[in-house]
Symmetry: C2
Subunit: 211 residues, 2 copies
């Protein structure tokens, strides 16, 4: 197997590298140079027509796109420790939490990044900067949402894929300066706890904010 | 079990009612009146803090939010017919297709609906109408994307959750007038075939366009 990946702070490859580390898997990985557009080159479009990373290429050349789909595949092959929940109800609960991370936080975070950030303005223009900026309060509200609800972990008392995706999103959001955890003490504590996990440390730890 | 739902054309409850019908399940359902805000009332916020439908309430009062998470729960309890794929690789492939439906089509469709549609303007204002309109070509590109790639079904040769979510999105998109399938012959054929399935007919069939 080969993981086609990209260096931090790319948040989606990070989900898979942390997930694999939690499972004790040693995935061979090749990092594409996003800033050179290697993920949009024909060789990579043959692996994933969306031109995105990560992609997991199996030994027979079959390619699996989408970070969470790759994690589900690895989870099916290596069920321990369970990172998508245990029984049917627990798995549903984890899936709900995962979707909330992606939709409640991930969507407005991406809309700010694409439309209202100096690093992406040269790529995407500034025509919709006001719209992008209007998503900043939604990011703050999402942080408050998780801050108020988080227990030991996002989906309850066990570490799961929902924690991995939330952590990767927050690490990326802090790197860009869009996310400020200062007003969110419980979420910050959770972030610090997850940041200290061997899986996170071994895959590069916290990304230093752009500076 | 009780499904807290909403009448068509609400696309997310429809995913679950079609899914349940494909499984041969007879789910008791209560439709909340979205236009009266019943989904934002305290009784429903107790079921789902996001104030959204659908929610599946189990007999002991446990509530599962998020349409796809509910479908995963029903799939775990009633594995036949398989609607999330079969083996690990097939399940990954279905999950990738599902995510592409939600991200490639669902996101721009929602951004048009919320920001550039006369039915939602009274709710959300028109401050970001130009941004909403800029997502219309993305909707068209998404339709073209699926039109070029669709085989018998979205994830390959079997009917899956990815078809259910795509069909519900297109039914909603046609109802709003945002989606026009006329230039997309293969996708239109697929839509017509899925529209004729007993599960779709029994849950209300195609929603007539507004107007």
């Amino acid at each position: 197997m080969m993981l086609w990946s990209a260096a931090p702070p790319a948040p989606n490859p990070r989900r898979v590298t942390i997930f694999a580390a939690e499972k004790g898997l040693n995935l061979a990985a090749t990092e594409l140079a996003i800033f050179k557009g290697e993920h949009k080159a024909p060789a990579h479009l043959a692996r994933n027509p969306r031109g995105q990373v990560p992609v997991l290429e199996l030994d027979d050349g079959t390619c699996i796109a989408e970070s969470v789909s790759i994690c589900r595949y690895l989870d099916a092959l290596h069920p321990d420790p369970p990172l998508f929940g245990t029984d049917a109800l627990d798995r549903a609960r984890v899936d709900t939490a995962l979707r909330w991370v992606e939709f409640v936080l991930g969507t407005p975070l991406a809309l700010v990044w694409v439309n209202d950030h100096p690093l992406t303005a040269p790529l995407f223009g500034t025509a919709h900067q006001a719209f992008g900026a209007s998503n900043r309060p939604k990011v703050a509200a999402a942080l408050d949402w998780f801050d108020r609800r988080i227990a030991d972990y996002v989906a309850g008392d066990g570490f799961t894929i929902a924690d991995i995706v939330l952590w990767s999103s927050l690490d990326f959001g802090r790197w860009t300066g869009i996310v400020d955890l200062t007003p969110h003490a419980r979420l910050r504590d959770w972030f610090d706890r997850v940041s200290a996990r061997p899986s996170v440390v071994a895959t590069g730890g916290v990304t230093p904010p752009v500076g």
